[in-house]
Amino acid sequence: MNMNRRFFITLTGAAAVAWKSVLAGAPEDSPNYKITDHWWAMLIDVDKCIGCGNCVRACSVENNVPEGFFRTWIERYQVDDQHMEDPLVDSPDGGMHGFPVRAPGTGLTGNGVKEFFVPKLCNHCADSPCTQVCPVGATFTTRDGVVLIDEKYCLGCRYCVQACPYGCRFIHPEKQVAQKCTLCYHRITKGLTTACCEACPTGSRQLADLKNPNDPIHEFMKKHSVQVLKPQMATGAKAYYANLDGSVR
């Protein structure tokens, strides 16, 4: 413990000031955030996910997610060469508490068996079908590429939940409005990363800003094969998956 430095910081209030600017309200008020400078996305490297569930827990705490519902979750896949079209998938409690070891005799036994984890979240689609169907404009895409929900305006008609191909939306049991991953908008507009990325121990999940020329995602996408989920839906999904197996639903 470096007593002198901490004492100094607390004394001068530098920490307090720095923290306050981090906690500043609207993105327009945040000193350096200009909406049109950003186009947010997420990069997920499937090979790095260890299924620890940190992201699910962190998101749940950061965003007050009601129990039994998930703004992000992890799926465990088991595939063999006979089951590309119907892999064995599970997601106990969204993966929040990790995954139990598979009981003997319950898995696939064919040739080429492999297992892996796939983190899932809202894809913040550029051509989002959920915003298309909202009857009143309660869900929308911001100018920096994040799909948000206006909780004060949402009717709770559930049309958006039906329209999302990825199952990332739900209705808050008490508030009775639609909810989903906000890409931690309250954090990213202040220079922080999302809660799930912050908590990920292996760097499997990385927030990306496509408009930032220095963002590592550009180099990464040049060098690696990258996919989105359900590309045939043409939703303009912006959660890019590296090393994604074709069996993933």
Binding site: V61, E62, R76, G98, F116, L148, Y153, K190
Partner: protein
């Protein structure tokens, strides 16, 4: 004149309709939120509302501002990429008022297994153990120093 006499009832219908439309237009001007439509088909004020939600995880840069000594230990070891709150949990409140909010030290006998317990689905490059055989129930920090986990790595 006569013609209007016999179609007068239809004109009344049109009148009722026009009254209805007028009421609707007034109602709309009154009820639609002022910021609606500013940037698109949504209430622009909701952007600020979402952005103003409370922050729960401080973010590792904030931790490192005070705890740089831990960073020095961590950055040379295998856990250099693991952020503080990945193990210590959300600590924004602690960062806001360090003296008043004291975080609880995580219990390594539960914490470490979350990542390092052996499971066939975990990628092959990732180090795992069967904790029952590896540590026989002892907490992991009996031998390992979590910030730099290699045995013999610098002490915390």
């Amino acid at each position: 004149m006569n013609r209007f006499k016999d179609s007068e009832h239809l004109l009344r219908v049109v009148g009722v309709f026009l009254v209805g439309v007028t009421i609707f237009i007034c109602f709309r001007a009154w009820f639609v939120p002022k910021s609606f439509g500013e940037f698109g088909h949504y209430r622009a004020d909701s952007l600020a509302e979402v952005a103003a939600l409370p922050i729960v995880h401080a973010g590792h840069e904030t931790c490192e501002a005070c705890h740089s000594d831990v960073l020095d230990v961590k950055k040379t070891g295998k856990h250099s990429g693991v952020n503080c709150e990945a193990c210590h949990g959300p600590l924004a409140r602690h960062a806001e008022d360090p003296a008043a909010v004291k975080p609880v030290l995580p219990d390594t006998s539960v914490l470490c297994a979350r990542c390092h317990e052996s499971n066939s689905a975990k990628p092959k490059w990732f180090p795992t153990v069967v904790t029952a055989e590896h540590s026989m129930g002892m907490p992991c920090n009996t031998c390992h120093t979590p910030h730099n986990p290699k045995i013999g790595g610098e002490k915390k």
